[in-house]
Amino acid sequence: MDQSVRSEPTSRESAEEWESDLVDLTGVPLAPSHGLCLPTPPERLLIEVRRPRSTSTGGQNPGRAD
């Protein structure tokens, strides 16, 4: 399991909030530019986006929401 995710609740009964390994970039420009230093994407994010996809046109089963 990915150890970089700090997503354990603060109590066994209920947690007030769950913390992601993605950071809050609200207010940071969406369009990249030189000099805009964004954090490195978490490895989990990169692994997920790099995983091969199927397409709607492939096969007879419906496209997969992978």
């Binding site: 399991m1 990915d2 995710v5 700090r6 997503s7 354990e8 609740p9 209920s14 947690a15 007030e16 909030e17 769950w18 913390e19 992601s20 390994d21 993605l22 950071v23 809050d24 970039l25 609200t26 940071v28 420009p29 969406l30 369009a31 990249p32 530019s33 805009l36 964004l38 954090p39 994407p41 989990r44 994010l45 990169l46 997920e48 986006v49 790099r50 995983r51 091969p52 996809r53 199927s54 397409t55 709607s56 046109t57 096969g59 007879q60 089963n61 419906p62 496209g63 997969r64 929401a65 992978d66």
Partner: protein, 539 residues
């Protein structure tokens, strides 16, 4: 950013996770998911921006495109932000990163990088800034994300780079006597310009963007006027169905959350569409977009909109947190598919179908659909979805937020399973559920290690929708079973190929219906090992 110059992590309030875990989710919860999607888009755009290995093709360095994009963003942040958050942009970003990683195929790489240049042109047009840069044109077509597509006159084949100039809202493409000039933003359709159309206010009907599918680029598939009009009509009907229940909950959807509809499989009104949606799909790269074949009516479209948006919600939640530790082994039974699924696929199915179950629960009483049909689908999907949720819960693969989510789904479904449904609809739903599971096991499992491995080829589910309505005059074996006449069904199955898994499933379920008890339960539990009493049916 905090006082130390680092960024705070995204956080999801437990009450919001609890709402999402019911299968629904308030506006606040969805806003949190969308905030996560923005971060993801930013980080992935940044990852592309930081690549220094764009091919030195006809477009030269992508720096000119990044600069034009940034200039437009500074001028009109709102417009360009909406453009960059568009679903097809997400598909492009994800696909290009996969191509650079070697996990996707596509056309010449410089043309895929070149989509950035097209994006920059769109941004400049929307923001009213100037830009001058080369763009890739394919077979004479220049798609402009978020705006439409330019069709250059003359004979064009393959990929070529042409110069594009934007000034004061006017676009000039090409040079000399072949140059085309137009004002694309709000520009009318013409011989050279196909504007992006909307199926409803604020909801694009995306039939042009090359990255409108789940991964790689596609040619455009422009709907003719009649098909476009039909889409608007059936979408309006679907919105009316969804508008009957507006309080947030599983199975409910604010159509304003839909980012785009990608019509699939037809560009004209002929042949007439089927009553149900033949194909629909979603990708986590394109939050809020859904690929759909147009059905005949609004109720089935509404069901599909709910189904597909559930996928977007879950994908966004998965982007925020790992919900399970998945080895991606495709071995699990999903009641709505012919193929075995991995755990993430199972979770996606469970989340989508809790939405579908809630959708039909609402339709039982709001008058927008036949109550009997709604009762059947409600009974069927609650049963099937609860089975899948149990598989997930007992998999020992869930993380803490994953356990929270799955426990919430189980709570919703357990409550629904206690609700009464008319007897005949309930019987047909249980029979249909048994039939699908039985046929799946016959096709995908083997009774003993020494048995030949099944081929697991695709097989169509032709029973689920047949059982939705009690047949008035049954003719086939399945129809007799749906009409609660298992004896007649059995005699008709006996005339068919006993080796055919579809027929065998029917025979087994008909037998179990006629002879309830321990033997029947054993047959239904492991049909791949079952031998009907008095039968020499081979396996």
């Amino acid at each position: 950013m905090n006082g130390q110059g680092t960024y705070e992590p995204l956080r999801l309030a437990d009450r919001h996770l609890a709402e999402l875990a019911t299968g629904g989710g308030s506006d606040e919860a969805l806003d949190q998911l969308e905030r996560g999607e923005r971060t993801r888009r930013q980080l992935l755009l940044g990852a592309l921006h930081d690549r220094r290995d764009a091919p030195a093709g006809p477009l030269g360095s992508p720096d000119v495109a990044w600069q034009a994009l940034h200039t437009a963003y500074r001028q009109d942040t709102g417009q360009v932000e909406r453009l960059l958050l568009g679903p097809a942009v997400g598909s492009w970003v994800g696909h290009l990163l996969r191509r650079l990683h070697g996990t996707a195929d596509g056309p010449e790489l410089w043309t895929e990088w070149g989509h950035l240049h097209r994006l920059a042109v769109s941004a400049a047009l929307l923001a009213g800034t100037d830009a001058h840069l080369p763009v890739p044109v394919t077979d004479g077509r220049l798609p402009l994300p978020g705006l439409g597509m330019l069709c250059l006159p003359g004979r064009w084949t393959g990929h070529r780079a042409v110069q594009a100039t934007v000034h004061a809202g006017e676009l000039a493409v090409g040079s000399g006597p072949d140059q085309v000039t137009l004002r694309p933003v709000h520009g009318p359709e013409s011989a050279v310009w196909l504007p992006l159309r909307s199926v409803a206010p604020g909801v694009p009907l995306e039939d042009l963007d090359p990255y409108r599918d789940l991964d790689g680029p596609l040619p455009p598939a422009r709907l003719d006027t009649a098909e476009f009009t039909a889409w608007r009509r059936v979408f309006a009907d679907a919105v009316e169905v969804l508008g009957a229940r507006t309080a947030p909950g599983p199975g409910r959807l604010d159509p304003g959350r839909i980012r785009s509809v990608v019509p699939w499989g037809r560009v004209g009104v002929l042949p007439p569409p089927e009553p149900t949606v033949r194909r629909s799909a979603t990708t986590g790269d394109a939050y809020g977009a859904m690929v759909i074949t147009r059905p005949a009516g609004g109720v089935m479209l509404a069901e599909t909109l709910v189904h597909e948006f559930q996928h977007s919600k879950l994908a966004a939640l998965l982007h925020l947190f790992p919900l399970l530790d998945d080895d991606r082994a495709e071995r699990y039974y999903a009641p709505w598919r012919a193929d075995p699924r991995h755990l993430t696929g199972l979770l996606h199915g469970a989340y989508a179908f809790i939405g579908v179950t809630g959708f039909w629960r609402d339709r039982m009483t709001d008058g927008s659909a036949d109550p009997g049909t709604a009762a059947y689908y409600f009974a069927l999907r609650r049963l099937q979805t609860r089975l899948v949720v149990r598989t997930l819960a007992t998999s020992d693969r869930l993380t803490a937020p994953g356990r929270r989510l799955v426990a919430g789904l189980a709570d919703t479904l357990d409550g629904w399973l206690r609700e009464s449904v008319p007897d005949d609809a309930l019987r047909r739903a249980r029979t249909a559920a048994h039939l699908h599971r039985t046929e799946w096991r016959l096709r995908n499992l083997r009774p003993a290690r020494s048995s030949p491995r099944p081929t697991a080829a695709f097989w169509p589910d032709i029973r689920t929708h047949v059982f939705a309505v009690r047949p008035g005059v049954p003719r086939t074996a399945d129809e007799f079973l749906a009409a609660d006449d298992p004896e007649a069904a059995t005699s008709r199955y006996a005339r068919l190929d006993p080796v055919d898994p579809h027929v065998r499933a029917g025979r087994l379920v008909a037998y179990a219906t006629l002879h309830p008890g321990r033997t029947a339960r054993r047959i239904l539990a492991r049909p791949e090992s079952a031998r009907l009493p008095g039968s020499a049916t081979p396996r």
